[in-house]
Symmetry: C2
Amino acid sequence: MLKLHCFGQSGNAYKVAFALNAMGVEWEPVFVDFMNGITRTAAWRAQSNEMGEVPILEIDGKAQTQSAVILTLLAERFGQFGGRDADEQREIQRWMYFDNHKFTSYFASYRFMKAFGQSAPNPDVMAWLRGRIDGAFGIVDQHLAHSPFIVGARPTIADFSLCGYLFYPVEESGIDVAASYPHIGAWLARLKALPGWGDPYAIMPGERIAAKW
Amino acid sequence: MLKLHCFGQSGNAYKVAFALNAMGVEWEPVFVDFMNGITRTAAWRAQSNEMGEVPILEIDGKAQTQSAVILTLLAERFGQFGGRDADEQREIQRWMYFDNHKFTSYFASYRFMKAFGQSAPNPDVMAWLRGRIDGAFGIVDQHLAHSPFIVGARPTIADFSLCGYLFYPVEESGIDVAASYPHIGAWLARLKALPGWGDPYAIMPGERIAAKW
């Protein structure tokens, strides 16, 4: 049985959880107490992931990390949602790199500080991040104006990657993505209609926390 | 002849330029006037790269983007600096994703605002970025304490990716990386000794600009 080390608030873990469910692959969660700082300890990093991150997927006797690398492995292993040729595989990687660099990253930091930060977020930092978010989200919104999914007419692992943080409650980030970016909103509705979709807090363990700031 | 769309200040383009030189592959530069805003125009994005980024590599009649995707293609195409099996290929991708998400990204933004920003950088934003940089650089420094290169005992495309912004003058970022992170410093010396290494401003076009702030 595949084991996914995850917690409810992690959109990066959700990318993999959603993909596994959409592929119809059985898995069980291993709760990671990220919110209380376990991934920042030297012991956890030495034993689990030196990068200090989730998700971790136990599969075929090995522990894999980095959501995009795991998604690529799952697409190969189960023959679903991958690229059909080298060009399409590259196009998928291209969007997953953009996601990790500019799309998920700034949004995830923004939402974490607003919802779960120890102290009120610094307004200048939030304004800077908001500018970066708007830049990246504008690019994806324009792309989706002409394409039903991230890479062409059918869903791929690139979609699971980019949507990772976008099914959480709007109050956590304070950004109504679907309202601000209508093509992203329509794409999210298409993803939500896929067999296997589930709410992040329903399919991963850990209590939901009300947004703090 | 391969054409690399690039400019001197771009560490992301340098990742590819350094790799091409280390592979002994001939290429010619196409200057991109990023510093005057060309990549932010709708026309450039429509014609060159909807993501608004360099590098772009023209190879085998196609234009490829995203430095990590280009590096992966070059390793396959020229049979150098790639992973020797699926596990090693995944390990390379894992570090290149970490690089794009947390290692290059925050450092590149920090250095850009300090050296080339239109106005003085906001100190709160810089302090926040500096915290993120220290987190990611600490992880890589600790990793390199036990490994001569990013993935094992020989250089791979993961090394070209992570070093992209680290051969620029210290005054541009104001961070003396080699002094602050000794294992990263020793690794950079190993990379500088590779055949094909060149200074970013010597191997890519565009004038050097003195750091502004």
